[in-house]
Assembly symmetry: D2
Homo-oligomer: 327 residues x 4
Amino acid sequence: MAQEKKIKAGIVGGAGYTGGEMIRILLNHPDVTVSFVHSRSNAGNPLYAVHADLLGETDLLFTGELSNDVDVVFLCLGHGESVKFMESADLAAHIKVIDLSQDFRLGEMVKGRTFVYGLPEMQRDVIRTAQNVANPGCFATAIQLGLLPLAANGLLTDVHTTGITGSTGAGQKLQSTSHFTWRANNISTYKVLDHQHLREIRRSLQQLQPGFSGEVNFVPVRGDYPRGIWITSYLKSDLSLADAVKLYKDYYDGHPFTHVSEKQIDLKQVVNTNKCIIQLEKIGDRLVIHSIEDNLLKGASGQAVQNMNLMCGLDETAGLKLKSIVF
Amino acid sequence: MAQEKKIKAGIVGGAGYTGGEMIRILLNHPDVTVSFVHSRSNAGNPLYAVHADLLGETDLLFTGELSNDVDVVFLCLGHGESVKFMESADLAAHIKVIDLSQDFRLGEMVKGRTFVYGLPEMQRDVIRTAQNVANPGCFATAIQLGLLPLAANGLLTDVHTTGITGSTGAGQKLQSTSHFTWRANNISTYKVLDHQHLREIRRSLQQLQPGFSGEVNFVPVRGDYPRGIWITSYLKSDLSLADAVKLYKDYYDGHPFTHVSEKQIDLKQVVNTNKCIIQLEKIGDRLVIHSIEDNLLKGASGQAVQNMNLMCGLDETAGLKLKSIVF
Amino acid sequence: MAQEKKIKAGIVGGAGYTGGEMIRILLNHPDVTVSFVHSRSNAGNPLYAVHADLLGETDLLFTGELSNDVDVVFLCLGHGESVKFMESADLAAHIKVIDLSQDFRLGEMVKGRTFVYGLPEMQRDVIRTAQNVANPGCFATAIQLGLLPLAANGLLTDVHTTGITGSTGAGQKLQSTSHFTWRANNISTYKVLDHQHLREIRRSLQQLQPGFSGEVNFVPVRGDYPRGIWITSYLKSDLSLADAVKLYKDYYDGHPFTHVSEKQIDLKQVVNTNKCIIQLEKIGDRLVIHSIEDNLLKGASGQAVQNMNLMCGLDETAGLKLKSIVF
Amino acid sequence: MAQEKKIKAGIVGGAGYTGGEMIRILLNHPDVTVSFVHSRSNAGNPLYAVHADLLGETDLLFTGELSNDVDVVFLCLGHGESVKFMESADLAAHIKVIDLSQDFRLGEMVKGRTFVYGLPEMQRDVIRTAQNVANPGCFATAIQLGLLPLAANGLLTDVHTTGITGSTGAGQKLQSTSHFTWRANNISTYKVLDHQHLREIRRSLQQLQPGFSGEVNFVPVRGDYPRGIWITSYLKSDLSLADAVKLYKDYYDGHPFTHVSEKQIDLKQVVNTNKCIIQLEKIGDRLVIHSIEDNLLKGASGQAVQNMNLMCGLDETAGLKLKSIVF
């Protein structure tokens, strides 16, 4: 894409974690210009006053004003805030909207805009023509990527899932469960068997495997590290390991960010990238699926850019060839 | 107990992690004298040459010789090493043996010695009269403490368990999965649905609930912290939360180290103590049991001392009132 | 000491970190009864409602009332709060006071009470007869223990010190620099060359080496772990390494918690104990002194109990034989 | 630069940490093709067999053969190995060599090749015309970047420096000081006042400030995190803070990776980037300089690519616009 035709992007809620990641990705995106970064509380301040790592990379300031001279807007707002924003803001009809909250993931509408669920590995072609996309939840992304190939082949049975998340999943708000002294070297759980992402997960699984009424048991765990989600799911299955691996490789063939590993995986393979890596095991009659992602990237801002790339006709990987932290 | 009648204890395999913890506990135990700490490779060196934190606490040296002038011997050896030791060593018949390996947990015998499974919360009275005790595995202890009250009341159904362990569970051997650069901020799994502790767990559960043939699905996770085990198990149950809490509190009534919390728990409540804390939740028809312990204490050396206290007629908590690290 | 003559202790400010550590130590202290734990905001709640690790160890409640039926009171209050408390509270004259704040460390008086600086390795005999003790600061303790033998021999020259502290040093208040996501894997400094502990340090050094007017340059660093202080100081010195080691060993001879290591040390040797370990190196004409402690124990509550032991005629180590966390 | 003129690069020692980082950067470098990745022990294996995070990014295999059909070779070998490699390998004269070891940093020659010290902020123009570059050490880079502006203006006096490094600085070799259980939550020092990087540091400082004979006291600390170096240096100075900030900003003007922050900095601002951020403080008569970098990037492979960019006439930042990990 030639320089003069760069996509103009606006970011709403640019002072939070996902907003910061959005800025970091878009500043280096070859086909995008960041037109504005909106934050009421930080208007007038340079971006690096909040995102200190951006010192030396941009002199852009936060703004309290919205502009309609953009092609796409990313909403990096809290749950419940996106719908309020959409109801009150005067957004021009031509602007594509990508929302990172959970406000529109179950097919909710606002001001005549319908949102498409933005999981490219499930429905890339639908996203390509979408005007509005609801970006999936972080846990929901990793869990679904572990289950989609089975659902697409009608092979889902009762699922048992453990998910461990880094502290960035809880955002930047100061709270006792994100106090360093408490969380370091500590483990705890929350919303056990009752996490809100189960709704969007179940919706996707039933879309792919109509009539699926099995259980999805999900134990979310607070990990003592900042970034990344580890998922282990298991279920009864007749598939051999070889057949399961083939099924998964076939399903993800052509998807640039989701890969099947035939070796033992570990979380840091994907931290600070937009990738999801999956590993399968078969023990007795149970198929085990491990899937890993960076919760802020493939689980949030990275996938949002992936969706933008699809919606805008760009290379799906543009701006997303990110160097892993590895260690 | 008066000073002149102190129990004389020997430690075999005193240079490893569980051996070190045994020394730390016994040095401060009011009713015990450490008679010898055996380590072939460190014979002649002061204990603090290996366990550097002991500087200033003892001038005891490792020895390569065994003495029969002891009341009890703790075997802190690797799996497979305890049985070899027992076969080759000339241990006087009066000496009580407490083995921390998995060599005798399933009822194995050696040289006419039969080993009792050393889980006090399951069979304290049997341990009180035992001559030889096989100390339970770390994961096995925490998982069983989460399930015993159900099994004792015939209420077990298929169990789904996740367990997260600190790096000390893997011992002091240098290996890639315990390299700091790799393990920091990382998550991985191992022996999924196939961990060796399932054998002793199943044996105990069937002892309490004869005929139990349900599943025990166990996903072991490598955590990125040194100490502690977090267990979450869930199963179908008709019990209300209140009834389940009562069942657990009744079962553990009088057991000084295992407690039921009615608040959300977190792992660091028990780190560096001999305690196990349990928390219950009921979501729909599923009962959730969280149980936590320090893998080196209640999961190894602390429980071994608890067993010794029982076997020697001491207060069950003697030497085990340990200050939690908390943070 | 016989049971009937136990020391009765009260704790004011029992809901904070140092208050919690005080409770943990005193509950297991053989010669002390905890008479009350005062906390205005938590009055009526069980201790374990705040200090969750105490579940199963005590049913004591926080109280909002003070009692004069105690022998000693520990003030675990914020800086500036202790002086306010002393001015407003009606404390009986017979009660010994040990204050953990910095309010009385420079010889301040309140209501006719004079405070003795509570560093046993400097002036144990003075503490033994003191009615009121100002417990030293955490950094101040570790830095001074590294320098006292030199000062006592008039050998101090300009000092260059780096100190790294765990996050517990900043207390339990939620703030951006103790947010887990921020602090994990992070390093930063604060109050560089300008830390308030320099005042009490300089006062002690001049007491031992009258006329000392050299520099004490101190760089405080925020470490990414919860507990422990690492100090490295260096200065020009004519002493050989052997002479320096002898000087330090002689100085600390008979002091049960401070030890000189002739091997390389690491912080975790002392975490969760009341010890300070010192290691010396000589490089060219510079003497290097490393000293380590647990900031909440030897650097706060542990040393406070050590002072109480001295003031009350107990064994200096009573209640303080704490098991190291090691790992 | 047009596609048909891409620089062809070879990497020798591609299985280690710096080799891995080199691969990660060059795979996404717009102007470079990775021609070969040499590793004797891994020849024939795919890169992702060693660098598991590369799964899905390249199918390249390690090779045991060297090729002369390259423009530049990076030596990612251990200290002492680079000189052996250069002596035995048959490297064509046209190939530029960038060595990451310390073998050639003090002006050593091999087979008629002279090496230029590759610190762009000191001598960018010399590097632009160099055929061979010795890449600076990780500590050396961060310390020098904190001192260069002073040296260039003849303002250096005795320097006191503390440096804290992540575990990746010690490479991937399994050793007791990089065992997770030991290193987690731990602090220790090594080579105090005697680190080998002092030689290259002193050489640079004297090049800029001829006749400088002051002290450079350096205390290296092992941090308990994987990546990043924190440096705090201080020295006597007549400069006001404002003048010092101006001096530093002027010196680094036009250098794309080194920036002066006027706010408090923290290490994670630069982790996983090629940047160095500097912050100044003035306390009394002492100027304090904090400088931070990622030891594997600006301290190793990132700076090596920066040097290649300069040597090959590319944009200095090509391939080095890396997304910070931030959290």
